[in-house]
């Protein structure tokens, strides 16, 4: 079975009892190690081995054909592989598509949705700077100042916390009018996005990944 399919299925390593049909077989860890040993270029392992798996599961999640659990285990498998590829990131042999600064808005501690955005964007080749939850406007601005080309993603759970997105967008715009800001979360809608002047609203993270793939200058 190929690496992408193993990522999609969440077969982390040989000992993972999931999926039941693959018990005892090599997983993403073993195959990634093998690919490195065979001196396949790290960027190729990432782009052609791992990312298509995350892409496939993300697409299926956005169509409602799989569930969060499937995404979480695929992301774990992906992370194990990224751990193996870390030296190549550090040496600059692998380049990310760009940086996404991500956070749950001020006052809000909810994180499942944000974490899914992180997994899907990393799986699509982005470096994600996760600011965590309860992120103030200043923290967003500071993070963007540290990587000026970064795109910003903000999540919120309730109408009250969603309203803090407006001030975050305003502060980010004052700081750098060109920063792209995308928003999502339970109460967020397209009309709210227009109201606060964000660049886009997506009901699921895959929508953002798809949108960013369309932006030619951001592609590697």
């Amino acid at each position: 079975m190929d690496l992408a399919r193993l990522v999609e299925l969440g077969k982390i390593d040989k000992n993972t009892p999931h999926p039941p049909a693959l018990i005892g077989q090599d997983g993403v860890l073993e195959l990634t190690q093998l690919a490195i040993k065979k001196e396949i270029k790290a960027q190729i392992i990432l782009n052609e081995g791992l990312m298509p798996g995350m892409h496939a599961i993300g697409e299926k999640l956005s169509r409602g054909e799989v569930f969060i659990t499937d995404m979480l285990i695929a992301a774990r498998a992906m992370n194990v592989a990224l751990g193996q590829l870390k030296p190549f990131f550090l040496s600059g042999e692998i380049q990310a598509k760009g940086t996404i600064v991500l956070g749950t808005v001020k006052g809000d501690l909810h994180d499942i949705g944000k974490n899914l955005v992180k997994m899907i964007m990393e799986g699509d080749g982005w470096e994600v700077k996760d600011l965590g939850t309860d992120v103030s406007e200043e923290q967003f601005v500071e993070a963007v100042n540290n990587s000026t080309d970064a795109i910003v993603g903000i999540s919120a759970l309730l109408t009250t916390t969603m309203l803090h997105m407006g001030s975050a967008v305003q502060r980010l715009r004052e700081n750098n009018p060109n920063t792209k800001i995308y928003i999502g979360g339970a109460p967020v809608s397209q009309s709210f996005c227009e109201e606060i002047g964000a660049d886009g609203y997506f009901s699921n993270p895959h929508g953002l990944a798809r949108e960013l793939r369309k932006a030619p200058k951001l592609l590697i």
């Binding site: 501690l109 499942i112 759970l157 339970a186």
Partner: protein, 349 residues
Amino acid sequence: MLTHEQLYGNKANPNFEELLRVIKGQIPSKPVLFEFALNDRLLGILSGEARENNTSRIAPFRRLIRAFTNAGYDFTTISAWRTNTLHFVKGDLAEKESRSLNSGNMISDRESFEAYPWPDPELGDYDIYYDLREELPDGMQLIASGNGGLLENVIDLVGFEDLSMMTLLDQALTTEIFDAVGSRLLRFYEIVAPIETVGACIVNDDWGFKNQTMFSPDMLRRWVFPWHRKIVAAIHKSGKKAILHSCGQLKDVMDEVIDDMKYDAKHSFEDQITPIEEAYKLWGKRISIMGGIDMDFLARSTPEAITNRSKLMLEQGLLHGGYALGSGNSIPEYIPDKNYFAMISAINS
């Protein structure tokens, strides 16, 4: 205190039979209101007691009942978190305006599962449900709900992401945890439902989020729904009605909610998922539809728009039956009071 008379121009006259009509899918003889919970500020305004007074066991409940009566409800909801009945000890749930579903986890493996201080529902103090008989105005009954639902409590005990992994990697332990929580919740409803003051039960358990159910329908069928089926059967055995409060996108499992679990009514709706008008058309003939005035709409629209939308929904309900007016979830502090009053004032017309 804001009295019923000040709000509606007449004395409160609660009649649980009207709500029962709605829950049975019938047309009530007056417009009926439904709400799961009102925030403390509103309870203060509606009861005349700004703060909860804990001088006696009954006092906070008396305030609650007075507030629900003045607002025009035919019932008062009593959540188990207010009582000393069944409570699962949680880890640290850091909370602001929201909280993380990954926090609070106390069970990560068999050892912590076995060491967990499982509560015994038999040891709970259920007297309060009996004692409130004296406090309830004529015609009013209590609606009892649990302190969180089955999936909600299991998520709190294990943590969402860890539970997700456990459902794939250790299914035997997953089953035991769900059974440990499910059996206790079932016992809670078996004890509470027959009590004479309790007219109906809310079974509260969020299953979905914006796009789909939080766990696959197959997982819910395996670990969650069988306990709900038993809980509803226990409530029905006492001759009471069962209302499901469950948020999020549930379209894939609504048929089972109705035909298999046999819930009498469904509460919690969102415009971004299925607006209440649509939900009523889709499912209203098969299950009663409660509330549904969207939370974001309620928080951010004008009072006029809120009254108009509420009136239109009430009209539908009075034409076809099986609808009671209320919010899509509850009335937290961030709903402006004037917007809440704009919604309930729709029963005036």
